[in-house]
């Protein structure tokens, strides 16, 4: 069974970007006031996630559609890396 990813109920996200620095999105978990800097891909990924666990394959496709890129092993690897990082920051969780 593939991994399913979701934003835990305890996380309330806000994302900010000032146009003078398009490469950085400031991510704040309002529930804890913790701050993180994420890349545009990380932001796209968070936009595809919600409270309902979503299969990883569906997530790859959604990120591809949102970014306009094709589904390559490199893109999958980048998404996996971001999911791992966001998981470490407790912004997302996975469920088998």
């Amino acid at each position: 069974m593939s991994e399913h990813w979701f934003i835990p109920p305890s996380v309330r996200l806000q994302l900010l970007n000032w146009s003078d620095d398009a490469d950085k999105w400031l991510c704040c978990n309002q529930a804890t006031a913790d701050l993180y800097l994420i890349s545009p891909l990380g932001k796209l990924l968070l936009e595809q996630l919600d409270r309902t666990p979503k299969p990883i394959d569906q997530l790859y496709e959604a990120v591809c559609a949102a970014s306009g890129e094709s589904l390559t092993p490199e893109l999958k690897k980048a998404v996996d890396h971001h999911l791992h990082t966001l998981g470490t920051l407790h912004l997302v969780e996975s469920r088998a």
Binding site: R12, L13, Q14, L15, L16, N17, W18, S19, D20, D21, K24, W25, L26, C28, Q30, T32, A33, D34, L35, L37, K43, E47
Partner: protein
């Protein structure tokens, strides 16, 4: 009534039962019998307002010997806040430093009606410049020099921000100077009023600089935060002002705050609003003249609202 209008005997008498002094938005009741404390208050707080004995007090503090023996044998001083003794005793010749460090601790641990940044803040032409920085970054030296060049001192240590506003509120207490910066400031500004210099403290050689009269006169007037400059003194560095992204600066502002997380969502939206209307820079410097010149010619920023996902309307 200003402190300088008290006679020495009157000051000593008030310090027995609690001298009530106003500084920025706070009132302090101060007790202590140390002549060095009396001298330093007379010198560095002479233009601060003294309030009537029945005034409301935010922070009651006292400086006493930790035990009767320590009045005579290797004299020491113990800082008290209300019923609390938050620090180990220090040698008695550090009484004024102990008082100032104690007030910093008291404010930064209790004044949560403000968002508090560990940063110096000065103002000119109605615009506030915030200088966050780790110890040794050179913010106190810059702050002292800026004040002596005509900027208004709001604080050399704690930037006070009311949540929901973009304004810094003055604290207006003496600015701390350490080690080499003491002689630097003394040589450049012979008119500067410096307190007693104390050697071998935990921070090295320290003294304090009296705020300029204008800073004290306007200590109830806030100023909108216009610039964040993160200084870095490096004796091998050319003067270099480097623009910083607001996102990076946000992280550093939060990291330099005493109580950012305490304010939660309101703290986030307040800092967001401030940064959207401010410009952020790193300043590397070794030459004080050049650094002052750069800071004196900072351009007013263009406000830039961020794109915001999931932000409340």
């Amino acid at each position: 009534m200003k402190l300088h209008s008290l006679s020495r005997a009157d000051l000593a008498s008030r310090l027995e039962k609690g001298l009530i002094l106003a500084s920025g938005p706070f009132t302090f009741s101060i007790r202590g019998r140390y002549p060095m404390l009396h001298d330093a208050l007379y010198l560095l707080y002479s233009d601060h307002p003294v309030l009537p004995d029945d005034s409301f007090v935010d922070f009651p503090v006292a400086l006493t010997p930790p035990n009767p023996l320590r009045r005579f044998f290797r004299p020491q001083v113990q800082f008290h806040f209300d019923q609390d003794r938050p620090f180990y005793p220090l040698p008695a010749n550090q009484v004024f430093a102990s008082f100032e460090w104690g007030l910093n601790w008291v404010i930064s641990n209790h004044a949560h009606q403000f968002i508090m940044l560990h940063a110096a803040v000065v103002e000119k032409n109605g615009r506030a410049l915030v200088l966050p920085g780790e110890p040794g970054a050179g913010k106190s030296t810059l702050c002292a020099a800026l004040m002596l060049e005509g900027w208004r001192l709001l604080s050399d240590e704690i930037t006070l921000i009311r949540p929901g506003t973009r304004e810094a509120w003055p604290l207006c207490r003496p600015a701390s100077l350490k080690n080499a910066s003491i002689e630097l400031i003394r040589a450049r500004y012979p008119e500067a009023v410096l307190g007693p210099v104390v050697d071998a403290t935990s921070k090295g050689r320290v003294t304090h600089l009296k705020p300029a009269p204008d800073s004290i006169e306007r200590m109830e007037v806030p100023a909108p935060i216009t610039w964040f400059v993160f200084p870095r003194y490096d004796s091998a560095s050319e003067t270099n002002l480097i623009p910083r992204s607001r996102a990076d600066s946000f992280l550093d502002v939060a990291r330099n705050a005493f109580n950012y997380s305490h304010h939660g969502e309101r703290g986030f939206s307040t800092v967001q609003q401030i940064l959207s209307h401010a410009a952020c820079y790193s300043l590397h410097y070794s030459d004080l003249d050049e650094a002052l010149s750069v800071l004196d010619s900072l351009p007013p920023p263009e406000p830039l609202e961020p794109e915001c996902l999931n932000c409340p309307p």
